[in-house]
Amino acid sequence: MRILGIETSCDETGIAIYDEEQGIMSHRLYSQIAVHADYGGVVPELASRDHVRKTIPLIKEVLAEANLTPEDLDGVAYTAGPGLVGALLVGCSIGRSLAYGWNLPAVPVHHMEGHLLAPMLEDDVPEFPFVALLVSGGHTMLVRVDGIGKYELLGESVDDAAGEAFDKTAKLLGLDYPGGPVLSKMAENGTPKRFRFPRPMTDRPGLDFSFSGLKTFAANTIAKEDSSDQTKADIAYAFQEAVVDTLAIKCRRALEQCELKRLVIAGGVSANRSLREKLDKVTQKLGGQVYYPRPEFCTDNGAMIAYAGMQRLKSGVSADLTFKATPRWPLDTLDAC
């Protein structure tokens, strides 16, 4: 079976075709970063306007690249939430109508389930059960995963998402939106131990996160220090180290609490090299392993939506003729497959 996946929940248009036997046959991503950079953040209306221009052209491209015609497809999956409602509605309306026109089942997909299952697209696939850290510009959460749709929320951020804290601190350091990845690059030249940032909420039990205090700490540090490139790099280093440490401490706790050894990380921040190295060490110490998708499937993409859609399609999901965008949609309310 083959399925088309459509992702338009935020500022990237992602389209892919997944085949049950061959895996991802083709995928395309159009990032709107340049559109939003001048505004210092994602402008929802502009994001929606771009999706309605890019979705069909990218669908044409993935079909052509995979050398397929619509007759070769068995379903159409699209992100139905969570995300920006206007942006989601573009993918939902196009996806639902294509499925209707092609007389195929339509499969609404939960964006975070897509992220969570993205490591399944790699050769080394984690077995259930495992603990997943979903960490991006919009989310930071720890989830126990016992199977497709069997998700138990262990903890989440009470304020900013980790990726959001990265971008906001980058902005304070004078970097363009989205500055998170550039901040990480800067941190490579940072001096260890010159600054020490707090590890929020690690001194008490529980698996929740809080990152807005780190951003304030960064602002105060930046105000006190000189603005040389070296100082900026040192601040970037200390900030990243604090975020990575905090995430690692909570991941270890979650694994211990669940008595599991397999950890999955997904979402934009899971592409962070420093985080990957740290979590490699943490899981090795526990005699376990960390799994993550290739960098291009860490950020929003159509491949993960196609994969998650295939799992849902096989379990018999087929939407009626209505479509609905659900901007807030708790992951643990999904049906088990």
Partner: protein, 228 residues
């Protein structure tokens, strides 16, 4: 000629099928719920008219202006249906659609359209009837305060659209129907006459070029200092 027309640009949702002179249509007020109404409505009319998507020569869509989200739902559906059925598209102005209804139903030849655009503004334009029986744009489609639009209207015409309902004081001044606004929303049925003409003129576009005309292109988003 067979045409399938859909619109979701305003608080209304409508679908019409033109089949060599026969018209099937449906219209429903459904603010904020077009995504629940539009495709089932298309499906019903296809069954009622015993037709399939691939039978159509073109897919006609309301291109705006109107609610940004509503316009995009209509266009998303238009793109999806047209691409799936491999048929071209024709975009029709929501304001033209309303002006056309003023002619077809109320016999009017001069029409002033004002759609409530929130933020104390209206999407507006004036239209006049051509000898082909089609409404033609007499002024540009713009967005502006209702008092300004009212002051720009030279000849009193027939007022249509929610803008006149929201700002009735200007309707009394400039429109013949100085009390009642009979045509409030676009109805896909009245997109058909203009779409037939466009199709005959070869003015069709592939599915991915079915795009909104927002008219309002800057609202609440502001660029960073120095990037304006």
């Amino acid at each position: 000629m067979k045409l399938l027309a859909i619109d979701a640009s305003t608080e209304a949702c409508s679908v019409a099928i033109y089949n060599d002179g026969n018209v099937y249509s449906d219209f429903e007020l459904c603010p904020q719920s077009h995504s629940l109404v539009l495709l089932p409505m298309v499906d019903r009319l296809l069954k009622e008219s015993n037709s399939q998507l691939s039978d159509f020569d073109a897919l006609v869509y309301g291109r705006g202006p109107g609610s940004f989200t509503g316009v995009r739902i209509g266009i998303g559906v238009a793109q999806g249906l047209a691409f799936a059925a491999d048929i071209p598209t024709i975009g029709i102005s929501t304001m033209q659609t309303m002006a056309q209804e003023a002619f077809e139903v109320h016999g009017q030849k001069y029409v002033n359209v004002a759609i409530d655009a929130r933020m104390s503004e209206v999407y507006c334009s004036s239209w006049h009837l051509t000898d082909k029986g089609l409404m033609e744009l007499a002024t540009q489609e713009q967005v502006m305060p209702p008092e300004k639009f009212s002051s720009l209207i030279e000849n009193s015409g027939y007022g249509v659209g929610t803008g006149w309902q929201a700002y009735p004081q200007y309707l009394a001044e400039k429109c013949q129907n100085n009390e009642e606004v009979a045509v409030l929303y676009p109805n896909a049925k009245y997109m058909i006459p203009s779409a037939i003409q466009s199709f005959k003129n070869g003015e069709t576009q592939p599915a991915d070029q079915a795009q909104p005309v927002y008219v309002r292109d800057t609202v609440s988003w502001k660029k960073l200092p120095g990037r304006e």
